[in-house]
């Protein structure tokens, strides 16, 4: 059995190939000039540059946070290149036919259904490759219903009013160390605007990949759901296998106006580093949404990658009757470390939030849930339910729970519960006695453990997530 475990745990990262695409990359280093150059490359208006420089100035005065339950060597921010663009994109492709075949082959290798399958599935995709947005499919079709779905660099030029109004309104420049860095150097990302009363006709999707060596990826996503609108957004990530650590510091802002709904799903599979913890992505991400009256934001995430994860998708429930949801599966193995969770800030009356978090630890990894539920004095009749379950596979890993609960309103009800257990011998015995081998049994039990979260994912992602988990877990039975 031990051999089987070792073999499975030593499984290679399947998305760990490097694509040989010519690219244009800045020399490593960070200073005002680099920010000016990024801004100039993107042909940004003056206000945007000033916004970036302001963020940079505050970043310089901030200290790297150390409260998370993760350990990693100090990051040398001067050793990172802050811009890398596939060269052949100098003149942007108009259709899929114009895309570098190498790039398309990459996607195929990743199993991304960008082409026919994708069209059949009716998913519009924005692909961010290293630092720039490569292609956005289905733009015209979306435009018919008034939906804007484009790279954020384009939105800054074409829809400056919307960007000016909402960029930084949920995650301000000084929010935290990595968010401030992102504000200063972000190179691209997705921008979505759903007009009033519109139900987005298809699921929107972004796919991120860090390809170049020594580059960091700092993408920025801004989604605005205007009154009464609805959108479902999917995000996927991978990176090639490299010996050194790479930084990914993204910011996602969701603005959910009255009666609107945003469903944001992530399958994160950045390169986790090798067995000894060498290499891998540092995933330091700030995701937050604000809900106005009767609005609803639902975060669903499946986290299986990254060497170090530091990520807390949050909801500010500002409007009365607004709803926040957080469904998460985080799986760590090898030497991975994840510190992830959510914040639910209840400001409005009758606001509701649900947190379901499932952590699975294997190998020598550490998996922490860190969350905050705050009931402000105005949160009359608010309600929260939190459930955090951890599953340990093997005796060298760790599972931790750090929930903060703060209540200032007597009519608000907060419930938190957490459990930790292992795959029980009884469950295993039952499955094996029915003819399943140990591997299948574990996979089945873990899938059952995560079911509550998987059922929240859109169809295609649920399948992908289930498969990802199965791959990561194969044979890790003790």
């Amino acid at each position: 059995m031990t051999e089987e475990i070792n073999r499975a745990l030593a499984r290679e990262y399947e998305a760990g190939f490097v694509s040989d695409i010519e690219s244009e990359t800045f020399a490593p280093g960070l200073n005002e000039d680099v920010i000016r150059r990024i801004s100039a490359m993107k042909k940004e208006p003056e206000w945007m540059l000033e916004w970036r420089l302001k963020a940079y100035a505050s970043w310089l005065e901030m200290e790297e946070p150390d409260w998370a339950h993760v350990q990693y060597p100090k990051i040398d921010f001067q050793a990172i290149s802050y811009y890398s663009a596939p060269k052949s994109l100098a003149d942007r492709p108009k259709s899929l036919d114009d895309v570098d075949p190498e790039l398309l082959a990459t996607y195929e290798k990743l199993g991304i259904p960008l082409l026919e399958q994708q069209m059949l599935a009716g998913v519009a995709v924005d692909v961010v490759y290293d630092s720039v947005s490569v292609i956005t499919t289905f733009r015209e079709k979306l435009a018919e219903s008034g939906v804007i779905f484009c790279p954020i660099s384009e939105a800054i030029q074409e829809y400056p009013e919307l960007v000016k109004k909402y960029l930084g309104s949920v995650v301000p420049q000084k929010d935290n160390y990595f968010a401030a860095l992102n504000c200063a150097v972000f190179t691209d990302g997705s921008f979505v605007y759903i007009p009033k009363g519109t139900r987005c006709p298809m699921e929107l999707s972004t796919y991120f990949r860090i390809n170049e060596m020594n580059t960091g990826q700092f993408e920025r996503t801004l989604i605005i759901a205007d009154e009464g609108s609805h959108v479902s957004y999917l995000e996927g990530c991978t990176a090639p296998q490299r010996d050194e650590n790479q930084l990914h510091a993204a910011v996602v802002e969701l603005v959910c106006l009255d009666d609107a709904e945003i469903k944001y799903s992530t399958v994160q599979n950045w390169y986790p580093g090798d067995e000894e913890g060498k290499g891998g992505i540092y995933n330091f991400v700030t995701k937050r949404g604000v809900c106005h009256k009767n609005a609803k934001i639902s975060w669903t995430q499946v986290e299986t990658g990254s060497a170090v994860t530091w990520k807390y998708p949050s909801c500010i429930l500002r409007g009365d009757n607004s709803v926040g949801e957080f469904y998460s599966v985080a799986l760590t193995r090898g030497m991975q470390q994840a510190d992830t969770g959510t914040k639910m800030i209840h400001l409005g009356k009758n606001t509701k939030s649900t947190i379901i978090s499932k952590g699975i630890s294997a190998g020598r990894s550490n998996n922490s849930y860190r969350g905050l539920v705050r009931m402000n004095p105005g949160a009359e009749g608010a309600r929260n339910f939190t459930q955090c379950d951890s599953l340990l596979i093997g005796d060298k890993c760790g599972a931790h729970t750090f929930p903060y609960v703060e209540s200032r309103n007597p009519t608000a009800i907060v419930e938190h519960e957490a459990t930790t257990s292992k795959v029980s011998d009884d469950q295993m015995f039952l499955c094996q006695q029915r003819g399943l081998d140990a591997e299948k049994a574990v996979s089945m039990i873990v899938n059952g453990f995560c079911k509550e979260v998987f059922k929240e994912l859109p169809m295609e992602f649920a399948v992908e997530a289930g498969k990802l988990l199965e791959i990561s877990l194969e044979g890790s039975v003790g």
Binding site: S390, H400, S407, R408, A412, E415, E417, T420
Partner: protein
């Protein structure tokens, strides 16, 4: 830097006794320590402004009579403003129980006492370090192997206006012995005390423990009870806190042996502008340990309750069972509850769970009782009392429970439902 802490450092320099080796270590840590602020995790919700630059009078000799607990035939150890009051304390001790003042400890006992002082209380407690530096008074309680001491040992700290006092207690319960200890702090006047008790519970020994932090109003108190459990030892502890302008209690339980059992019940009832902060840390360092922790609180008016309950399961602590439950009732829209149950787990074959709830008193239950002719205020007292009484009923010592109940009732009567 806190002016008060500066005086602590300078005052500690002039003390020289057999505890000095430990004092020096703690002073070294204190010199590097930062005065806690909102960003210090352990003090995130508990401001220390009232102590930061405070000046207290030197403890004077005060005449104060300490009342006995009715129905409790206890062995009393009374400290008034930090000084041992022999005339109010019990002189005759049952066989197997030895109590020694810190100043009178024999050479033979100094060795183990110093070891215990170094091992039991974690050095992360800032005020624990202060206590190391300044506490010259206190007692060592030693229970001989297999001795069953039935009479509870009651340690009373009485504080008067403007006093500052630092006491420490070290308790050793040898193999197969058993003991009951009651820690009690009295005095609502403006004062500050740090009272730390450290318990070394040997193989197969058992300890019944109570700590009543019932000071209210202007009294400020920061203290702790720290337990080291050896193989098959048992701890049953009940804490009751009323909250004052500053009331902070740290409880640490270390399962240093296998098959140890710890039961921890805590109650806090806060009113006015009081603050009560309870931090509990359970370290499961060895296999087959069991911890049951139940914490219940009622917070009214503009009071603030802080609870941080940490359970840490070490790599070797397989087959651990640990449960923590924190339930709170919030009585007013100016009251605040901050709770954080934490789990940190490094062993896979364990069963751990924690839960926390915050809500108001059940409106339906209140309505039901009113419909039966019970007036609102009384119904509320009954419901609150029922919520807390479940834990009071679990106190093994009936006399203490009887003594406590009317005090709780009195508190409930003052609180009002919105």
């Amino acid at each position: 830097m806190s002016e008060w802490l500066n005086t602590v450092l300078s005052r500690a320099q002039s003390v020289d006794d057999w505890l000095s080796p430990k004092r020096e270590q703690s002073l070294a840590l204190l010199r590097d320590a930062k005065w806690p602020n909102r960003k210090t995790e352990a003090w995130k919700y508990t401001p220390l402004r009232a102590v930061e630059n405070a000046q207290f009078a030197a403890p004077a000799d005060v005449e104060a009579a300490v009342t006995a607990i009715a129905g409790l035939e206890s062995i009393d150890l009374v400290f008034i403003n930090g000084r041992f009051a022999a005339e109010q304390s019990t002189a005759n001790l049952p066989q197997g129980l030895h109590i020694t003042q810190l100043a009178d400890v024999s050479e033979a006992d100094k060795t183990w006492a110093l070891q215990a002082f170094a091992a039991i209380k974690p050095s992360r407690h800032l005020f624990g370090l202060v206590n190391d530096a300044l506490a010259t008074e206190g007692v060592i309680i030693d229970v001989a192997a297999s001795a069953k001491i039935t009479a509870p040992v009651r340690i009373v700290n009485q504080l008067s206006e403007n006093a500052e006092a630092h006491n420490r207690v070290l308790v050793r319960v040898a193999q197969q012995a058993s003991l009951t200890v009651v820690e009690q702090t009295i005095g609502d006047a403006y004062s500050f005390n740090t009272a730390f008790a450290e318990y070394d519970i040997a193989d197969d020994a058992s300890l019944e423990h109570y700590r009543f932090a019932l000071q209210t109003d202007k009294a400020m108190s920061v203290g702790g009870s720290h337990f080291q459990l050896a193989n098959r030892s048992q701890l049953n502890s009940t804490l009751v806190g009323f909250g004052s302008s500053l009331s902070r209690l740290d409880v640490d339980v270390t399962h240093g042996g296998e098959h140890a059992f710890a039961k921890l019940n805590a109650i806090y009832l806060l009113d006015g502008e009081e603050l009560f902060d309870l931090h509990s840390t359970i370290e499961h360092a060895q296999p087959h340990g069991t911890t049951e922790e139940n914490v219940r609180g009622i917070v009214g008016d503009s009071a603030t309750a802080v609870f941080n309950g940490r359970i840490h399961i070490h790599r070797d602590a397989q087959k651990t069972l640990a449960e923590l439950n924190n339930r709170n009732l919030l009585m007013s829209n100016k009251a605040v509850i901050n709770t954080k149950p934490e789990l940190e787990i490094y062993a896979d074959d364990v069963r751990c769970a924690h839960g926390a709830t915050i809500a108001e008193i059940d409106k339906k239950a209140l309505y039901y009782m009113q419909s039966r002719g019970v007036d609102r205020a009384q119904a509320q007292v009954m419901l609150n009392f029922g919520f807390i009484n479940e834990l009071v009923d679990q106190m093994p010592n009936a006399a203490l429970a009887e003594w406590l109940r009317p005090q709780l009732r009195q508190r409930f009567a003052k609180m009002e439902v919105n």
